[in-house]
Symmetry: C2
Subunit: 574 residues, 2 copies
């Protein structure tokens, strides 16, 4: 490609409304332009990267035995009514009506459509296992689209759905998808980790996220220092502290704590460490037959954070997790939120494993402006349950039994899931098994955020000058930068020759044939992040050389005029 | 691909709701499945064809210097309000609102979005010409989706938009697109014609449709027997008959024609040829300042058909063309529709060139149950205009001046258009010209119905057994059909060997490894339309041969076991 025939659209200034580096660089490098909130046009440079990622994903899916199909963006509402998600899905599901006033949705995902398709196309266990995928436009009406295409409303996704006669077959295909994802992200040159993930409302244990590590990531991942263990913090288990709980030594005492509401204020006022304080939160339980929702107390150590996913999973806790309001707190504890404590509450009390290991601790007295000191479980407070309720913190022992936990941030770019029979049962997707009996199929689903990968790769690969693409997903592999070619016949001729030879060798080349100062050309090629460059100048030609420049390490190399094309082809592994 | 790991989904029965052969065969060959009216899932076999067509289009667009981008399916309504199409576009434009109640549309086309993009990205004539394209999902809420994906609601389209400093540059790119379209459709192995097309409400003369010839086509195309001239019948000019109009010989006579309403009835009752009858239609004119729409009479020869596109183009005729209702006819002509005639009408009268060449003709008397015979222009009827109002018929002289016209049916698969400044003017898309003066850009637009091409190719390439794909767009190029391989070790081994060798040679192979009778396998491979097959049997192996079979001509050839792969590679031009 010649820049003179291309839409380069690079920007010198960093757009003020872009918060994360990938969003800033995608705008500056002329990769995307905003059309409306969460809706982006892909300019040529961005689309080239997107297509390369798409092709790697396609190849690895094909290698793993998945078969490509394509389903519509617009889906009839009936299928969503049949699966139950018409009611369950919130306003992220964009609903519309056609000219005949029939209801449709813009597909945020395709479980319903694929289950509908497969229930009619597959009738026998002999046709299984079957793994169908598509790479297709999705729409989710995010309440707050942000970070450019990282969390857009319209995006490109690879979604695969597998169908099985039994769980063992599902587990086998799940393993193949796990391997295919690792292969695809490795080929893209990304630093990523498969991590155990929460399975949400569906239950079961089979789910992994694929996280690209980056400080700007929205997800927090716990790693073991002693093994391969990695899990989303939503999922990472916090073990009970080692050893026996210390015996009580202090007497239970009620102390006045005027104007003390937060843990920090309690610690400052009573001069204790937050680790010696128990904080109590009230949430709502599931409604009883009369529709009444009881209150449930959750108790954590003062320095720990509630893990809402874990809390929501406790039997009897209302889903989604709902905190008690002021009136409900007053009714249950007789005080304001800042003074609740586990002693004397008549509701259910669930204590986090670490909080349950405390002795002689401080907690609210269920009386405004008062706390208890020297509190002890069993001696002072009885009738509580113990569970894992908190987020792990760095230094916690790893639940795998080896090493301790480290925390890193990640960007979720893939998610694989053993769905089981959630959709196949609701939509009656059965096949005849070997005995000729109708059997509900087991299903798996496997997603990759194709457009999000573009941003994730940039978060991992950039410097002050711009993007640094891994070869496999670079918009162009080689930049030809001829200095003052519009004045030098020799420079122009050599540039044209390299352009022709590299194209013939199947290399993606951007030939910067603009009438621009060398500085402008260098800045643009570095901003766009082209991994390899040939710089052609009069002086070099005099010496029989051109300059090779690596974007990643900035190294420069003088190469003989006739050797540079072979050098590049070798570097690119052609 | 092995059929055992594939979703073949062939059907024995022809689905009853499929009218055209391509729709029937796409369902039977397991290419598509209906999800809802006008919405289709693409099964693996269909998607493979679609992707091959998409890739040919992409390559030819790139070869012609167009640059690929991608724009969202969901577009903000403001842009459509700015261009004026928010009001102009009918219910085919699917409108929706997001969770914040902001209005959007599902893009049926992207003129607004691309013009919006380019007005911000391009500021100087130096960046022009620029030709941007995408291959992307479109949605048009057709009132009556039909013929499967031929006229679906969601479909895949290649749409390109070019931007220019002046008309000359537009004409040059238009020519390149014309050539690129010819190259693409030729590579697909299609029998097609570029034909002159109506430019609709935009005006100008620069528009061509690309029509795949097929009896099931919705469009009628006029060809010259003496030149390359080809035009959509909407556009093909009907010349005035040669020579002078004959002089009047008969006297004007009013005759009673009781119960005579249609041209056929007039001819039968008066024993005249329809060619000697003038029929008169009343349409509405443009509203005057008071909002009143005058009636305008259109007069055609009894054997000719009104061309509504030509009628609509007459100055003063209301757009869209609207026929007068019974009350308006009564008020203007004093009779019912079956008795209108040009004599004595007080409204404007426009006479088709052929009708204006009649002498001694029959026409309505503007009196119920009466006609005039021996009518003559000028002598009996004055104050009329003459224009081209009719559809051409076979045998008409070609408007190019050479030969006569033939009519054929076609399927429109592409349309190129010199848009001019319709959008760039409405949306203020300007660049600075060489003198530094803001200049509105000239635009062209160029569409290809990518998904429709799949159906069009089938309409042209099928027989009683199924589809016959041209090599370049076949879902698979070669079928390996091993007879009873589950019983014969030698057959299985040879099949596996060919499968590996052909894949290594880059050939798309479908290896039918099912436990099925040979008859079932032959029927499926022919239905799917794979152009080349290798049939492997025990008896052949005994003689050192396998059978090559051509899907297109049905020819069979015994080929030495070690020669067949080279034979196929050669046939495929690898």
């Amino acid at each position: 490609m010649r820049t003179s025939q291309y839409l380069l659209s690079t920007l010198k200034e960093t757009p003020s409304d872009a918060e994360v580096i990938s969003h800033q660089l995608m705008l500056r490098a002329g990769m995307i332009r905003k059309l409306a909130s969460g809706l982006y046009n892909w300019l040529p440079t961005g689309l080239r990267v997107l297509k390369k990622i798409e092709n790697i994903v396609r190849e690895e899916m094909n290698n793993a035995g998945a078969v490509e199909v394509s389903m519509p963006v617009v889906q009839p509402a009936e299928l969503w009514q049949e699966s139950g998600r018409w009611e369950q899905y919130g306003p992220e599901l964009c609903r519309l009506t056609d000219r005949h006033n029939r209801p449709f949705v813009l597909g945020p995902t395709h479980e319903e459509v694929i289950t509908h398709l497969v229930r009619y196309e597959v009738s026998s266990y002999k046709q299984l296992p079957l793994n169908l995928y598509q790479i297709q436009t999705k729409f989710r009406d995010e309440v707050r689209p942000r970070f450019g295409i990282m969390r857009g409303r319209e995006f490109l996704m690879k979604d695969a759905y597998s169908f099985h006669i039994d769980k063992a077959s599902l587990v086998e295909t799940y393993g193949k998808m796990h391997a295919a994802y690792c292969a695809a992200f490795s080929r893209m040159g990304l630093d990523f980790r498969p991590v155990q993930a929460d399975t949400g409302s569906i239950g079961g244990t089979g789910s992994h996220e694929f996280q690209v590590l980056a400080d700007s990531g929205e997800d927090l991942i716990a790693f073991s220092t002693g093994s391969d263990y990695a899990a989303n913090i939503e999922m990472a288990e916090a073990l009970a502290p080692a050893g026996e709980r210390p015996a009580p030594t202090a007497a239970l005492t009620q102390v006045a704590t005027p104007d003390v509401h937060t843990i920090d204020e309690v610690c400052a006022f009573l001069k204790v460490d937050a680790k010696q304080v128990a904080k109590t939160l009230l949430v709502l339980g599931e409604a009883d037959e009369a529709g009444e929702q009881p209150v449930i107390a959750l108790v954590l150590r003062g320095d720990h954070e509630l893990n809402e996913v874990k809390a929501e999973k406790q039997p009897g806790v209302a889903k989604p997790l709902t905190f008690a309001n002021d009136a409900q707190i007053q009714a249950a504890a007789g005080c304001d939120a800042g003074s609740i404590g586990p002693k004397g509450l008549s509701c259910r009390v669930i204590v986090d494993r670490s909080a349950a290991h405390l002795a002689d601790f401080v907690c609210g007295a269920n009386l405004n402006g008062h706390h208890l000191t020297g509190a002890n479980w069993d001696r002072d407070i009885q009738g509580y349950e113990v569970a894992d309720l908190r987020n792990v913190v760095e230094g916690d022992p790893s639940p795998c039994g080896q090493g301790t936990l480290l925390l890193k941030r990640g960007i979720e770019v893939g998610h694989i899931f053993q769905l089981g029979t959630k959709y196949s049962e609701a939509m009656k997707a059965t096949v005849l098994n070997e005995e000729g009996k109708a059997t509900i199929m087991e299903m798996g689903c496997y997603g990759i955020g194709v457009s999000r990968l573009v941003a994730a790769a940039i978060e991992q690969n950039n410097d002050a000058a711009g993007i640094i693409w891994p070869d496999a997903i670079a918009p162009f592999e080689v930049a030809i930068i001829p200095m003052n070619m519009h004045k030098s016949h020799r420079v122009a001729e050599l540039a044209e020759r390299y352009y022709a030879e590299l194209k013939a060798a199947g290399v993606d080349v951007l030939f910067d044939d603009r009438k621009e100062r060398p500085g402008v050309m260098f800045a643009d090629m570095e901003l766009i992040g082209i991994p390899h460059a040939i710089v052609i100048g009069e002086r070099g030609i005099d010496n029989g050389v051109v300059e090779y420049k690596s974007r990643r390490d900035g190294s420069k190399l003088e190469v003989a005029i006739d050797a540079i094309v072979a050098e590049l082809v070798a570097r690119l592994g052609r």
